[in-house]
Symmetry: C2
Subunit: 361 residues, 2 copies
């Protein structure tokens, strides 16, 4: 166990944007809510999964919706408390600890605001090790942990409980009402035992996000290059350097879908990169050839300040670096690839790990 203070949140938010792999919603609002709650209620205890008793009740709390809307339609923070309390009411017991469903994007920091208000610990683990666009795309699903009961609350005061037959139906039904609610809501989901967290979660991911955030934000003080320190800490591969030449984006239900084109600079002069996204970046192709494929992480970095860029904020002309990072090993199993691999998103290409795709000849 260690205490998380307001400064730590800055690092975690920055690292969550890296792990958001272009999606997950910009963590800015979540960061403000988390810092305000910590300032009001005190620091949050970040615990390791093995500090949980096997019968503890752990519930991931998440912001859910279209990233573009999550940026524009602000959360009050009370939606999350309602989703939390609805879960306690429905299950008829107290929640012992909360956990991010994904350590990427907004959901990497939002849970700190609920943990602070509810004075309960936050587990240093998540269900993705990154961000993914669909509710059922979790390592919890890989371990047959039901997403239901799901509790849902919006800023207007609507609050619902879903008990779906499988995790995909959770996405379908909650997605349908979320659009009616204006495109965003708060969820409690995947209520699970301490024993299940130990077995199914991606461990240490919050601390890892903090490490990545520190690499970016503290580099200058240490007279180091932030991009280099990020690459080092993330064991990332530099896939491309260039300038945004085009971005096509459309909202389809609760997804931002599109493609971003980058023309090469420096040693990539004459080459072109295309990044496909559905909330998150899913496929990076250099001159038509895949160089990074979901579930591996594709991270778009602003070359000027080494900060990650989310897909909905991509701007023409920005100088960027594209990094690739290895997915958690749970995603690289046959079951993991079935749930989060390229076929799931309609690609013909087979998954090939980035380290093989970018092997030095």
């Amino acid at each position: 166990m260690r205490k998380i203070n307001s400064k730590d949140i800055d690092y975690i938010a920055m690292g969550s944007t890296v792990l958001g792999t272009g999606g997950g919603g910009d963590p800015y609002i979540g960061k403000l809510l988390a810092k305000e709650a910590i300032n009001t209620y005190g620091e949050v205890s970040l615990i390791q999964a093995d500090e949980l008793t096997d019968d503890a009740l752990v519930v991931p709390i998440a912001a859910f919706g279209a990233p573009m809307i999550l940026v524009e339609k602000l959360f009050s923070g009370q939606e999350f408390i309602k989703a939390f309390e609805m879960m306690e009411y429905y299950l008829g017991r107290k929640i012992d600890a909360i956990m991010p469903i994904e350590a990427g994007g907004l959901n990497g920091v939002i849970p700190f605001s609920i943990a602070a208000q509810k004075q309960i610990p936050l587990v240093d683990a998540d269900g993705m090790g990154r961000a993914f666009p669909r509710l059922e795309m979790t390592t919890f699903t890989l371990h047959n942990i039901p997403v239901s009961p799901i509790t849902q609350a919006d800023e207007k005061g609507n609050k619902n409980v879903y008990h779906t037959i499988d995790n995909t139906w959770g996405e379908t039904l909650v997605g349908a009402t979320t659009i009616q609610m204006g495109g965003s809501c708060a969820l409690g989901c995947y209520p699970m035992s301490g024993a299940q967290v130990k077995k199914a979660a991606v461990h240490g991911i919050v601390s890892y996000a903090q490490t990545l955030g520190e690499a970016i934000l503290n580099a200058k003080e240490l007279n180091r290059n932030p991009l280099d320190t990020l690459i080092e800490k993330a064991t990332a591969i530099k896939l491309f350097t260039g300038k945004i030449s085009n971005v096509a984006i459309k909202i389809d239900g609760r997804w931002n879908k599109g493609v971003c084109e980058i023309v090469g600079l420096d040693k990539f002069q004459g080459s072109k990169m295309e990044l496909d996204f559905q909330n998150e970046f899913l496929m990076a192709k250099k001159d038509g050839k895949p160089v990074a494929i979901t579930p591996d992480l594709i991270v778009l970095i602003d070359a000027e300040n080494a900060k990650p860029i989310t897909a909905e904020t991509i701007q023409y002309g920005t100088r960027v670096v594209v990094l690739g990072m290895q997915a958690n090993k749970q995603w690289r199993t046959p079951e993991g690839l079935e749930l989060g691999g390229p076929k799931k998103f309609g690609y013909q290409e087979q998954f090939i790990p980035i380290e093989e795709l970018n092997k030095k000849e």
Copy 2:
């Protein structure tokens, strides 16, 4: 209190089709489910609202969806039991009696199957006195009774609870998931006390449906004309006689919207009638002039057998009679007209009672 047997269900189903005013779904499947349950579990006690204790828990159970789908996608009956039990679980207490939400269409008979299985009484009352296309269009809403918590179950096994801020949000959110569920589901809604039923419901409506059904089905045995006996029992006005000349229908979300054209016969020769519908018939115009307007009931009758026709089964060439019936007086108040009157459905026309529209000069 009186006992309802399998034969009574035939009459009630027929009368419910009249009160369905073109919508509410064909009661055929509901009739089979109700009769099977009565044959298995015994007759159902139909009670008057004043037989309820003031603190009794009464819950309307309803089929919800697009009428066209309600006809084609069969209910197993278990969805209703799940919605019922989900309500008991969520409220943490036993349901004392059930009630139709609308005595029109499928929902006029479905509740008998649950009452039989659960061995609890059914209240001789509903929240519409007819059928209406939206969940919030009830006399319960007129008495500020919340539709929430709403429980929802589908045939696949998904089951949800909605706690919406108002009754319109109930329609919005439940409507969105119902479409995802394939267009139909079972609901528990408007849980209320015995005292609330006494104040807010349309009383005696199930018995009234039975009276109308008997008028149609028993007339021949009594050597009477079924249409005449129906008109007499319903205090209906004969608005038109003719032949279906055209019907345009489209599914919009969970609604069948369209218009049915009838060319006049007999004394209406040379005239033309148009019936607008959104699940239910909402407006009848003779030669462009309104002769019946929602919330008053517009009933389309097959001239050959005096049986009512639902909007989704209208067929070109059928000889028909159009009847108008007065809405329950709760619908004719300013609040009632705001909720179920022509403006709510986008019409410019003001409501005028059918007896005034068709006053004999």
